[in-house]
């Protein structure tokens, strides 16, 4: 397991990028100025795909977080209202140690990881994001998985006073997502608590969120308050909304068409040039099965992916 783990880390977090960025970040920290941090434009390439890592500014100003509004700039405008500390997380269902935990207590003692993942949104755009967090499997092992457990269900905070869209009916609240247990246990699946070595910004799902890089972005649920292990397949918000368009699996798959967006390719947000004007000319890349994370393919062996989309 651990050998595989390291391989994955190497493959998806090219070391030189990390080393370089760490250095830059340390410098930034030393200057202890947020302004300096914001100005870092990581021009290092994601070699497999020739993409550069998105800037902090891009990652924090282009979000789908409907609790704060439908427009991609709404979360950056309104998420500051969210209180993220203290943060309680309920661990429920088929676990050895159910209960309500303070987030720090829950994460205590678990190894942290840095992962730079491609994020592919179902709307046909993508980013490359340097997350910090923990592997979900480590957390699940810590709370103890009962034998009967087959799925993991997640829930986002429900607090309409701070998340104003929850007062409307645009979706069924709270936001819910789920994974099969083997997907959840895969070492690529992480719970992110930060990006660019900074605490996770609120618009990105503070204080902690799921990141499943081979699935469409909406599976990576934000601001989690409940994790339960279940025997039955949990419901997920977008499948409730429109089961034909958003399946339970929602693996990135260029061969499963979506009625709104082309899934054959993706527009990489973070353009060819510098700054906002440079972002006008974005580039399209061919979308890859499992978002290019082929090591998860074995999870779906023998399954008809056009049926279980």
């Amino acid at each position: 397991m651990d050998i595989k783990n390291d391989k994955i880390k190497e493959a998806f977090t090219p070391k030189h990028i990390y080393v370089n960025r760490r250095k830059i970040l340390q410098l930034g920290m030393a200057l202890s100025s947020l302004v300096a941090l914001n100005k870092i434009t990581p021009a290092q390439a994601d070699e497999s795909l020739e993409r550069k890592i998105n800037t902090f500014e891009e990652i924090t100003n282009y979000n789908n977080f409907y609790e704060f509004g439908i427009d991609k700039t709404d979360p950056a405008k309104y998420a500051h209202k969210l209180t993220t500390s203290p943060w309680q997380v309920e661990i429920a269902g088929l676990v050895e140690n159910p209960g309500k935990y303070d987030l720090n207590e829950l994460l205590d003692g678990i190894n942290t990881v840095d992962r730079t993942y491609r994020l592919r949104c179902v709307e046909g755009w993508s980013m490359l994001i340097p997350w910090n967090g923990i592997q979900l499997n480590h957390l699940l092992e810590k709370v103890g998985i009962k034998k009967e457990a087959k799925y993991v269900a997640f829930e986002t905070l429900l607090r309409p006073e701070e998340m104003h869209m929850q007062k409307t009916q645009v979706m069924y609240w709270p936001y819910r997502e789920g994974l099969r247990l083997d997907e959840a246990m895969h070492p690529l699946t992480i719970l992110a608590t930060g990006l660019y070595n900074q605490p996770l910004p609120k618009q990105n799902g503070a204080p902690f969120r799921l990141v499943v890089p081979w699935k469409y972005g909406f599976k990576s649920i934000k601001s989690i308050v409940k994790i339960s292990l279940t025997e039955d397949q949990p419901i997920s918000s977008w499948s409730m909304q429109n089961p034909r368009e958003y399946g339970f699996y929602s693996n990135v798959n260029p061969n499963v068409h979506h009625p709104r967006w082309s899934q054959a390719s993706e527009r990489y947000i973070g353009g060819e040039g510098e700054g906002y004007l440079g972002n006008l000319f974005t580039r399209r890349y061919d979308t890859k099965l499992f978002n290019g994370y082929d090591e998860v393919a074995y999870l779906y062996e023998g399954m008809d992916l056009s049926k279980y989309y």
Partner: protein, 209 residues
């Protein structure tokens, strides 16, 4: 015919002013939203993904101008303000924005990936609707000149009836584009349907004007 309320009739002075505002002025005025968009782009105001903002803003301006074009006739009937002569410029500039909207999609969004473009134009309902609306508007734009009016005679009116289905289908295109219900799109559609309903009523000038 002798109007006792003649002294408070504002129709005449307004029409006098309107006569001074030549339709051709609107070829400049109606391009101001485009200028504003360009200025916003240059100043970084369009955010992380300017292409999408531009694409949407062009579609939006185009549809709004189309709705204004539709509204000019009923407003004229209700007020006797002579606005009919502005219809052509509003319609043509609307078409201009919608064409830019389409070109943005083709060039900057889809980046001329023809296989995906064909799939989108045939299989994605909201894109199919956009295309149908655009196709319906083409003959209107081509025949928006005096020569065509003369040549086509009665047939011209029938061609220009196409603005109604084009507007409705454009509104549906807007409504179906996103993951959840678009309240702005619903409002837009209601306005379009309202304007079309007005067509079936004999509108008279409102007395108090």
């Amino acid at each position: 015919m002798a109007n006792v309320k003649k002294n408070i009739d504002i129709t005449k002075p307004i029409n006098l002013i309107l006569r001074k505002i030549k339709p051709s002025y609107f070829y400049i005025i109606l391009l101001l939203p485009l200028l504003a968009l360009i200025i916003e782009l240059m100043s970084g105001g369009l955010g992380v993904d300017p292409m999408r903002k531009i694409e949407r803003e062009l579609g939006n301006t185009g549809l709004n101008l189309l709705i204004l074009t539709l509204a000019l006739t009923p407003i004229t009937k209700l007020t006797s303000f002579n606005l009919i002569r502005y219809k052509r410029v509003f319609g043509l500039i609307s078409f201009f924005y919608i064409t830019l909207h389409f070109l943005t999609w083709l060039l900057l969004d889809m980046q001329l990936r023809w296989d995906e473009i064909i799939i989108s134009l045939t299989k994605k309902p909201f894109i199919v609707l956009g295309m149908v609306s655009l196709v319906l508007l083409v003959p209107l734009a081509i025949t928006s000149n005096n020569y065509s009016i003369r040549k086509l005679n009665n047939y011209w009116k029938r061609v220009h009836f196409l603005i109604y289905p084009a507007a409705i289908i454009g509104g549906l295109h807007y409504m179906l584009m996103a993951k959840t219900i678009q309240f702005d799109a619903v409002k837009t559609l209601i306005v379009i349907l309202l304007l079309i309903t007005l067509k079936f009523f004999k509108l008279k000038k409102i007395k108090w004007l």
